[in-house]
């Protein structure tokens, strides 16, 4: 009996009128945990009842504490008939179980009803007293910390990264139980909410147990999803990365190794001392260039279901041995390192990591994106109530991912994620990640407090290009790829293009700015059932992957960029179509070769008009590339062929040695005059479809002046964030009206939908300019036959345009960027010749744009010296640090308010001993809040006492990122993982579906904020909306929506507070603050 849970119901406010006669309410509260229920007295005739109840005590197992939510129900007392429910509050008490997190939950919670939404608020106090439990065989895992953040959380350092943890639990979906026929929608919704809450708790507990088994104390990058399988059940599954985290004393928090981003210390080191690098002998590896055939698929048939998987080691990503100190003499060391790592990792079943950004030195090389998909039939599950079948499915997919990674010469997968898409009985399981080689020292016990010797030996501060170097053996490559020497160190091989699912490593040198790149695709399919359907989907998948990939590649080239980060490909299945959406952030990695242009080729060279047409298109493409170069400020250093003092004497000859099959390309390179010496991507136009495709390629409008967008945590190339942030969620549903749509028509609709959404964001957020939309997370779904749903969550962050934009190390490269800023706007002349394109004779024949591999058109790889003058003044950084406060309103709440709250929180922390004491302390807390200066002029209470004068509402910031600009996280309070259902039978009265969803999303935000505030926090980081399932039936005036959100509740203060060295930490999330360590 290791825990005592105590709850106290203080008061309610803004309650709805339940008694029409008196216009008042007789409210009382039921507090339930497990099977125990307590009740408060009835507070007669008040909309603002003061219950001030006794402490309700529940004596429970800690196992239950982890699984169960505290359930608070507010009811209206009725003498003669049944009491009417006003609404409920579910409180997840998990944060209280962790000694380092919150110690009391206290605050106003919105009272939520699944039919009516928020109906007033209730003030609740909750505490937990845990007793020590020495039972070895315990089922609970109290104390394991969970983080949604996909990097090592600020204010912690990773002592050890243990690896992948996963778990899956299944239950019958209450909505599909027989009892659902007789119970009210409210009862059914509440049963579902409660069940998911329970299952989430159970899942978290089980994962916690696994973490304890591994010797860890935390899960980072915790990703929980639920699958509404329908008849076959309700699955809640989660993955994460087990770690051992040490708390960093607050003073040094932002500057130590644990900080993930400020990683330029080693990087700039490397950059600043080319002489040191130069001493090491140049690499004698040759270069082999090839291009992948992006898809190789494996089809297998299972007893239970059609199984299909596509693996897309999509692009070619290179990397060589050990970071930095490569070269021949590094050979043995390299092997040693590999052995270390391998032994460390091979002990694990799945060397997967859900992290997307890493402590410095953790990531050695990146191989490329690995992904696997599999189509399953849910109605064929033998034992639907047991998790075994689903476990087996995922196991299979993970094995596949693992083998793909191996094929890329990598022993680990980072930035790993899993997802599903379900339509009726068909389910597509997807997993993707980035194959990588990791530094073993984080996986081994003991060597975490990096002794300097250890450090020097294994990790000689990887230069900013280390991760780009190919990890696989170039003579025995898993797929054809085109390699060149790294443009940064010129000693290792790099691929021509790099795709990854992770965030841009902070040490990476980038030229210019990045941008959001999306590939969108619709494919019609016939309606079918069962296996036929599954097969049809399976057959479509590889083509979709291929086309998405081609689109990405073309768009990347069109922007003159050479790498994608944060790649996320979502394939969503509907009854009659499949939707594919790939989002990523394109950048120009300085270490990679400049991308070639795009060349258009006609299939019938004789046709004059056609030729003319091709020329026009070619010209437009070239213009676009040129414009994009300016727009994103991509001005790579001049490629001086005979780079002075190039450490590679005869690059051309050597590369030729290894390039037997590409000899012919030398001549071909002459053709590609438009883009200099780079290999061109050739698009062949053989019919109107292809023309369409090219047009669609060109229709992506650049963001308006002053805006940037990306789907990674931060925008490569922007470093001086100011504190203005605005997180938002936007949902659009599009109804396709005519039944006879073509793939092309659908593609256009889908593309327009996404583009228009982005345009809307730019418009709405125009007051924040200059600003960047970060972490743009698109989710697509096909909720019904003719509906396409796109949901986006992102954050807009302001930055200071006038301050230096470059990292110090890049200064010579990006000179003059500020002048370019003025010319960012390019009206793209769209579709000028669409009509002429349509008049082509061959329009009847359908076809595709075919893609010739660059290998065939290869031209020489030029190895060029990048002249990087050493940047001695790492002190530059501080000039940027004085960031201007663009004052989002939250910042207006004076700093001492934050401090006050902080203090209040510490008071609460100390107050767990006796209930009486806490009570008085709680009072002092609220009185502190009362005197907060925030709502000035607002707090005067009236003589009539009709309002609640003093209680101000804590401002809670939310962001999908792991940090807040200009703000320092000082404490993690626990994970927020909430699931809500909202249903209405008066859709019209609530303003249609839009009105319904608008208020529901606002309510979800409000409930998240309230929970965070009750934990004593003032922000949510790594916030995400995992699920937004909307079902509507306008004819019946009904709609239902399910939303699942998660994030990490934190306490944060402004960087400038209590931080005399703020100049260094101000923009701590970007690279610069680590220079502190370097100097």
């Amino acid at each position: 009996m290791p825990g005592k849970l105590k709850a106290k119901i203080v008061a309610g406010r803004h309650l709805p009128v339940m008694d029409r006669a008196s216009d008042l309410t007789d409210a009382f509260v039921e507090v339930k945990f497990g099977n125990t229920t307590f009740k408060t007295d009835v507070c007669h005739k008040s909309l603002n009842p003061q219950w001030n109840s006794e402490w309700f005590k529940f004596e429970v197992d800690d196992e239950d504490l982890q699984d169960e939510p505290l359930q608070i129900t507010v009811l209206d007392h009725d003498t003669y008939s049944a009491n009417d429910a006003i609404g409920k509050v579910y409180i997840d008490i998990d944060p209280l179980l962790c000694t380092e997190a919150a110690s009391v939950i206290s605050g106003w919670f919105p009272i939520y009803d699944t039919i009516h939404g928020i109906r007033g608020e209730i003030n609740v106090l909750v505490k937990v007293e845990l007793f020590n439990d020495l039972n070895r065989f315990r089922q609970s895992s109290c104390g394991v910390k969970f983080f949604c953040t996909t990097s090592i959380p600020r204010c912690y350092r990773a002592a050890m990264v243990h690896g992948f943890v996963e778990e899956l639990v299944v239950n019958e979906d209450p909505e599909y139980q027989w009892i659902d026929r007789i119970r009210t929608p409210r009862a059914s919704n509440e049963a579902r909410q409660r069940l998911i809450s329970l299952m989430s708790g159970e899942l978290q507990r089980k994962i916690g147990l696994k973490v304890l088994e591994m010797g860890g104390n935390a899960v980072v990058g915790y990703l929980q999803c639920f699958d509404l399988e329908g008849e076959s059940g309700l699955v809640v599954r989660a993955i994460g990365t087990a770690c051992t985290l040490d708390k960093v004393s607050s003073g040094s928090a932002p500057n130590t190794n644990t900080h993930v981003h400020p990683n330029t210390a080693p990087a700039s080191n490397a950059c600043n001392s080319p002489s040191k690098d130069g001493k090491e002998s140049p690499l004698a590896h040759g270069c082999r260039s090839t291009h992948n055939s992006p898809v190789h698929s494996v089809c297998s048939s299972q007893r239970l279901s059609q199984n299909f998987s596509v693996s897309v080691p999509t692009l070619i990503f290179t990397g060589m041995g050990s970071g930095g100190s490569a070269g021949k003499e590094a050979g043995p060391l390299k092997t040693l390192l590999r052995q270390h790592t391998q032994t460390a990792l091979e002990q694990r079943e799945f060397p997967f990591f859900t992290l997307t950004s890493f402590p410095p030195g953790f990531l050695v090389h990146v191989g490329g994106v690995v992904s696997a998909r599999s189509v399953k039939l849910l109605d064929r599950i033998h034992n639907p109530d047991e998790p075994e079948t689903r476990d087996a499915w995922w196991e299979e997919i993970r094995q596949e991912i693992k083998s793909h990674a191996k094929a890329l010469g990598c022993h680990a997968v980072v930035g790993y994620s899993e997802s599903t898409s379900i339509c009726e009985e068909v389910c597509i399981l997807s997993a993707s990640g980035t194959a990588a080689i990791l530094n073993p020292r984080y996986m081994r016990e003991g060597c975490l407090d990096i002794g300097s010797t250890d450090h020097r030996f294994e990790d000689p501060s990887p230069p900013s290009c280390g991760f780009c170097h190919i990890p696989y053996d170039e003579l025995n490559m898993p797929f054809p790829a085109q390699l060149t020497y790294c443009y940064h160190c010129r000693r290792q091989k790099v691929p021509d293009v790099l795709f990854t699912t992770i965030d841009l490593p902070s040490e990476a040198a980038v030229t210019g700015k990045g941008c959001l790149i999306q590939a969108r695709l619709c494919r019609l399919k016939k309606k079918a059932q069962g296996e036929v359907n599954a097969t049809a989907i399976s057959n479509l998948l590889p083509f979709m992957e291929y086309e998405l990939h081609t689109q990405l590649m073309n768009k990347l080239k069109l922007r003159n960029m050479n790498a994608l980060f944060g790649l996320h490909i979502q394939i969503s299945v509907g009854e009659n179509m499949l939707l594919g959406l790939a989002s990523a952030t394109g950048v120009y990695l300085t270490a990679l070769p400049a991308p070639g242009g795009i060349q258009i080729a006609g299939k019938t060279p004789g046709d004059l008009s056609n030729e003319h047409h091709i020329l026009t298109i070619q010209k437009r493409i070239n213009d676009t590339i040129a414009k994009n170069k300016e727009l994103y400020q991509i001005n790579p250093p001049e490629l001086t062929e005979e780079g002075l003092g190039s450490p590679i004497p005869e690059p051309r000859q050597r590369s030729r040695l290894f390039r037997s099959h590409s000899e012919s390309s030398d001549e071909l390179s002459e053709l590609d005059l438009s883009h200099g010496k780079k290999d061109a991507f050739v698009l062949e136009i053989d019919d109107t479809d292809a023309v369409e495709d090219i047009h669609s390629l060109l229709t992506d409008a650049p963001p308006p002046t002053g805006f940037y967008s990306c789907n990674t945590e931060i925008m490569p190339g922007i470093y001086n964030w100011t504190s203005g942030i605005q997180m938002f969620t936007s949902v659009r549903v599009f109804r396709l009206s005519n039944a006879n749509l073509t793939n092309q028509g659908l593609n256009k609709i889908f593309t327009d939908l996404c583009e228009n959404l982005l345009k809307s964001f730019y418009f709405k957020l125009r007051s924040m300019i200059p600003c960047c939309l970060c972490h743009l997370n698109f989710t697509v779904a096909v909720p019904e036959e003719e509906l396409i749903q796109v949901a986006v969550t992102a954050v807009a962050m302001t930055f200071d345009k006038d301050q230096a934009q470059e990292k110090p190390a890049e200064k010579p490269i990006n000179k003059g960027s500020s002048e370019n800023e003025e010319q960012l706007q390019f009206p793209l002349e769209l579709c000028a010749d669409v009509s002429s394109a349509n008049t082509q004779p061959s329009s009847k024949v359908s076809g595709t744009v075919s893609l010739l591999t660059p290998a065939a058109k290869l031209c020489q790889n030029q190895l060029v010296m990048i002249h990087l003058p050493g940047v001695p003044e790492s002190t530059n950084v501080s000039s940027r640090a004085a960031s201007v406060d663009y004052g989002s309103f939250a910042d207006r709440c004076s700093t001492w308010l934050e401090l006050l709250r902080l203090k209040a929180h510490t008071i609460r922390r100390g107050s767990v001993k006796t209930s009486r004491r806490t009570q008085s302390l709680a009072h002092s807390v609220s009185s502190l809040e009362r005197c907060s200066p925030l709502p000035e002029g607002r707090s005067r209470s009236l003589r009539s006492s009709r309002s609640f004068g003093g209680s101000s509402v804590t401002v809670v910031k939310m962001t999908p990122l792991s940090f807040l600009p200009g703000i320092r996280i000082i404490k993690y309070l626990g994970i927020i993982n909430m699931f809500f259902i909202r249903e209405t039978t008066s859709l019209r009265e609530e303003g249609g579906v839009s009105g319904f969803l608008h208020s529901f999303i606002a309510e979800v935000f409000a409930m998240v904020r309230a929970h965070v505030a009750a934990l004593g926090g003032n922000a949510v980081v790594s916030y995400s909306m995992k699920e937004c399932v909307l079902m509507e039936n306008p004819n019946k005036n009904q709609a239902q929506c399910l939303i699942n959100v998660s994030g990490d509740a934190v306490i944060c203060v402004r960087e400038t507070d209590q931080e005399p060295t703020a100049s260094m930490t101000n923009i701590g999330q970007t690279c610069c603050s680590a220079n502190d360590g370097a100097t």
Partner: protein, 357 residues
């Protein structure tokens, strides 16, 4: 093919002040989009009409959801649904409770009944204020009236605290409440030249000087009703016109003081008895509710109009009223100095305010 659902929700509620004003002014979404397009937002940000429509719809929805809270502004500060920065909240409330002078002029002093509400479409047609906006303004008046009607203490302060309005707006509402409560007639043709601000000023004078709260702030009583005792005492002033000697004495005192100081002296002298009778009669009749209602029309008919026809300047008026008031103090048989001052102080400033074209 159509966008079936389109929502955008920010953690901090996004509100465009321009759109808010359009919403308040009762524009439909489509009209608002037109106005915005003409305003040139599109050119600024390279957006299309669709984007504008979507944005306008979103904002209108947000405002509709907020409207419930705006009805009791104190709730806005501690509700949890919308995270709105405090300065924004102030703007929202202030704008929501703002009103058109043209509209308020039409309903000022009228009973805020269902009957009046039914006539709003006429008012809308007459003033050019949209019906929707008229309804909002009317409901605001009614809401404020209902809340403060029964409250004790200073009227302006009550309104300010209950509805979190600025001092200026709270004063205007106090005037509206005061006029409504006393049902002052403001709609007669002769009063048409007066603006709402004229009346608001007068209301302020009356509230500050003629109500119970005006004499003693400590008395927990209402500001909305005139001080009955005072009104009763006003009857005593009649002596100024009924006592022939007193009247002559008063006249000669005033004339002595005015002689040579104004061009309109002759008219003043000639009209003195008439004017004095007018003012004192108004005072004496104020015990009747009916005459209270006609207070302003009486002022205009009995005093302002005669003066205007004699072409007094504003300075003449000031001079005359100052001496008229002060001279009464010198009358030895006139014992009601306090009441006289309390009465004339208000009358003076009201007439100054109202004496214009």
């Amino acid at each position: 093919m159509a966008v079936e659902l389109d929502v955008f929700v920010g953690n901090t509620t996004i509100m465009d002040e321009e759109v808010y004003q359009l919403w308040l002014d009762g524009y439909t979404v489509n009209d608002a989009v037109k106005v915005r397009m003409e305003g040139g937002v599109l050119d600024e940000c390279e957006a299309s009409a669709d984007v504008l429509l979507s944005d306008t719809m979103d904002q209108y929805r947000t405002f509709q959801m907020c409207e419930r809270l705006l009805h009791s502004p104190a709730k806005l500060a501690n509700q949890l649904l919308f995270q709105i920065p405090p300065h924004r909240q102030t703007v929202l409330i202030e704008r929501y409770y703002a009103f058109d002078d043209a509209f308020v002029r039409e309903v000022l002093g009228k009973k805020l009944s269902k009957g009046t509400k039914k006539d709003l479409d006429d008012i809308s047609a007459k003033t050019g204020v949209t019906l929707k906006s008229c309804r909002r303004q009317f409901d605001n008046f009614k809401r404020v009236f209902k809340v403060v009607e029964e409250l004790k203490g200073p009227l302006v302060e009550n309104i300010r605290q209950h509805f979190l309005l600025s001092d200026k707006l709270a004063r205007d509402y106090a005037a509206i409440v005061f006029f409504t409560n006393n049902r002052f007639e403001t709609g007669k043709r002769k009063l048409q030249y007066l603006t709402f601000q004229d009346f608001a000023f007068c209301a302020g004078q009356l509230i500050n000087n003629w109500t119970v709260g005006a004499v003693d702030n400590m008395v927990e009583d209402m500001d909305v009703d005139l001080d009955k005792e005072f009104l009763q005492e006003l009857k005593e002033l009649k002596i100024l016109i009924t006592d022939k000697d007193l009247l002559d004495q008063h006249k000669s005192l005033v004339c002595t003081a005015l002689r040579g100081k104004t061009k309109a002296f002759n008219e003043m002298e000639a009209n003195f008895k008439n004017l004095s009778r007018g003012l004192v009669n108004i005072a004496a009749k104020l015990t009747n509710t009916k005459d209270v209602r006609d207070f302003f029309i009486d002022l205009v008919e009995k005093f302002i109009e005669p003066c205007r026809s004699d072409r007094w300047t504003a300075a003449d008026m000031k001079l005359y009223l100052t001496h008229y008031t002060n001279s009464a103090h010198i009358l030895d048989t006139f014992k009601h100095q306090v009441v006289w001052d309390r009465y004339m102080g208000v009358i003076k400033s009201c007439i100054f305010k109202m004496y214009h074209d």
